[in-house]
């Protein structure tokens, strides 16, 4: 019997290792490339006026996106105010009251599915239930659309975090005669506070960069948001509108807005995840 030489196998192995390293480098390279482009173009567009004033007329330079920054912040806040409590309570039901029931299994399954529904479909849905009946686009509708994206994320993280709390803690609280709700809010929430906060912040980071659900709900506006009861300026739809315009000044403003969104979302993600890791 002849022995098969080892070198083709070793060469193949080495080749695969090199290729895999190159593939990983490629992935990181794209990340660096995108960030570099956004930083370079964005930094050129940023200045104090850009952050604080209203947009300029089509084609003319100067002006800013102060209204869009305020609008995005308001709608993200609204999304949290609506989505976080509902998501939290839904998560409590899944982990505490409904554990093991068929209803809870169904809801958990649907929450997972809901996270994968394209955000533009959520926008379409909110358009049909809020914009059509009221007859106009509004910041409220935009906030609701974002809240529907926050909801399943917060519900699932809350459930996972509550499930990780040792059962002994739950049982001791209940054994002391504490009602289940008190045990949940005062003992269990406190035990997994960090995890809950991480989940909420990551959800916020995700929705604050969303565009598609705002296209037919909040629309956009060149004015300061006086109330949320009308088309509301926001950064992401502004990027879309400006990038597609033929005016270089507007395209530059789109880069400025991209800079704010990209850096804001990434910074929030990185800080949250770093904090979450340090606590472990």
């Amino acid at each position: 019997m002849t022995r098969r030489p080892a070198w083709p196998r070793k060469a193949m192995d080495a080749a695969v290792k090199v290729v895999s390293a190159l593939a990983a480098a490629l992935g990181l390279g794209f990340l660096a490339w995108i960030l570099f482009v956004v930083l370079r173009h964005g930094a050129a567009a940023l200045n104090w006026t850009f952050l604080t004033s209203l947009p300029s007329a089509p084609g003319s330079s100067g002006g800013g996106l102060g209204n869009a920054i305020v609008g995005t912040a308001l709608m993200t806040l609204l999304a949290c105010a609506l989505g976080v409590p509902v998501g939290l309570l839904a998560g409590v039901y899944l982990a505490e009251y409904g554990r093991g029931t068929r209803f809870a299994t169904t809801v958990r399954f649907l929450a997972n599915v809901m996270m994968g529904i394209p955000s533009i479909i959520i926008g379409l849905f909110v358009y049909a239930i809020l914009v059509l009946p009221t007859g106009h686009f509004s910041g409220w509708a935009g906030g609701v659309a974002l809240a529907l994206l926050v909801l399943p994320v917060v519900a699932r993280t809350t459930e996972d975090m509550l499930a990780m709390v040792p059962n002994a803690l739950r049982e001791s609280a209940l054994a002391l005669g504490s009602p289940h709700w008190r045990a949940t809010v005062q003992i269990l929430f406190r035990a997994c506070r960090a995890g809950l906060l991480t989940g909420v912040l990551l959800a916020v980071a995700r929705v604050s960069g969303e565009t598609a659900p705002l296209l037919f709900t909040a629309l956009n506006s060149p004015y300061w948001p006086r109330s949320l009861d009308g088309p509301t300026a926001n950064l992401t739809v502004t990027i879309f509108n400006y990038a597609m315009s033929p005016y270089p000044a507007w395209q530059q403003a789109a880069w400025g807005a991209s800079f704010i969104i990209a850096i804001g979302v990434l910074a929030l993600t990185v800080v949250t995840r770093t904090l979450a890791r340090e606590r472990k």
């Binding site: 593939a23 709700w181 565009t211 598609a212 395209q251």
Partner: protein
């Protein structure tokens, strides 16, 4: 010591909290059901008028109120296909690097960087795709491709940069972190004993991966691919920026086209006629049903795997 009064109050609070939690959980159910019902209701005009023919009609004529979904469905399928063809092998090999090849001290930051790709908002990919990638494709990549492969119909037409191919590339980059994360976790779950047995027989890293790890984790990889697929199909902004937004079915990958999501993003606020609006909502309904099916399959698949892993362990 004072004792708190045992009245109805604590029971009432408990009941209220419990009901509130139940209501919020039921709300998830309500939204999912509502999504389907509302989209179906709002597309009734279009469904009534075009019937099943909507799915394969290539018409898109807002002036004569004649609409069909074929070009949007075609563009969605082709751009997703390109994305998956690139992203799946690339994710696989990056996951291999992270789990089997790299030292943990290198693997951890690299893994983190790849995950950050998922945190970049869709619209930023759109800006990069439109202003940076598309010009590069037009001046360098596409002419080179035409030179190398000749005048195949697949690569014919003027190299404009924007088009189905560029949309597929951007999509590939966007779903890469999702698939990589799943495959990486699957690789890491393969019992060390199985791998060590392979190494003990004198196999190389690649042989162990190919014959042990992949066989063991194939099912998990399929689940990850499904999740990536679901993302790619519904991705809106990045595609809208680079696909060209043209209602046509072209043989060439360089030609501009459209996807369901990009059509919605572009035309929805301009649609003034009820039938036009209804046709757009029906497009949304199609997208919703397709992603729903993919998501349900992926979740059932992954849940079954988790159960199996549970019984083994």
């Amino acid at each position: 010591m004072t004792r708190r009064a045992h009245g109805r109050a604590p029971l009432l609070a408990e009941g209220l909290f419990r009901t509130a939690a139940l209501t919020c959980a039921a709300f998830v159910l309500l939204v999912m059901a509502g999504l389907f019902v509302v989209l179906l209701y709002r597309s009734r005009l279009s469904i009534h008028r075009f019937g099943w023919g909507f799915l394969w009609s290539t018409a898109w004529d807002p002036v004569r109120d004649n609409f069909g979904a074929a070009s949007s469905i075609f563009g969605t399928i082709i751009s997703t296909l390109i994305a998956m063809l690139i992203a799946v092998p690339l994710s696989f090999i990056i996951a291999l690097f992270l789990v089997e090849v790299a030292h943990p001290r290198i693997a951890r930051p690299v893994s983190y960087g790849i995950e950050l790709l998922a945190a970049i908002p869709s619209i930023i990919y759109g800006m990069w795709g439109l202003f940076v990638l598309a010009p590069l494709m037009a001046t360098y990549v596409q002419p080179e491709m035409q030179k190398v492969v000749g005048k195949l119909p697949l690569f014919s037409g003027p190299p404009m940069g924007i088009g189905v191919l560029t949309a597929g590339l951007v999509l590939a980059l966007m779903v890469l972190p999702f698939i990589t994360a799943v495959v990486r976790d699957v690789f890491a779950l393969v019992p060390a004993v199985m791998k060590e047995a392979g190494y003990g027989l004198g196999a190389t890293t690649w042989e162990v991966t190919r014959k042990v790890t992949v066989g063991y984790g194939m099912k998990g990889i399929v689940g990850g691919v499904f999740l990536g697929l679901g993302r790619a199909i519904g991705e809106t902004m990045a595609v809208t920026f680079v696909i060209g937004n043209d209602h046509r079915i072209a043989a060439s990958l360089f030609a501009s086209g459209n996807s369901i999501a990009s059509t919605l993003a572009n035309e929805f606020t301009e649609a003034s006629e009820p039938v036009y609006l209804s046709a757009l909502v029906e497009l949304g309904l199609i997208l919703f049903v397709v992603t729903l099916v993919i998501q349900v399959l992926a979740q059932l698949w992954l849940a079954r795997l988790a159960r199996q892993a549970g019984t083994i362990a």
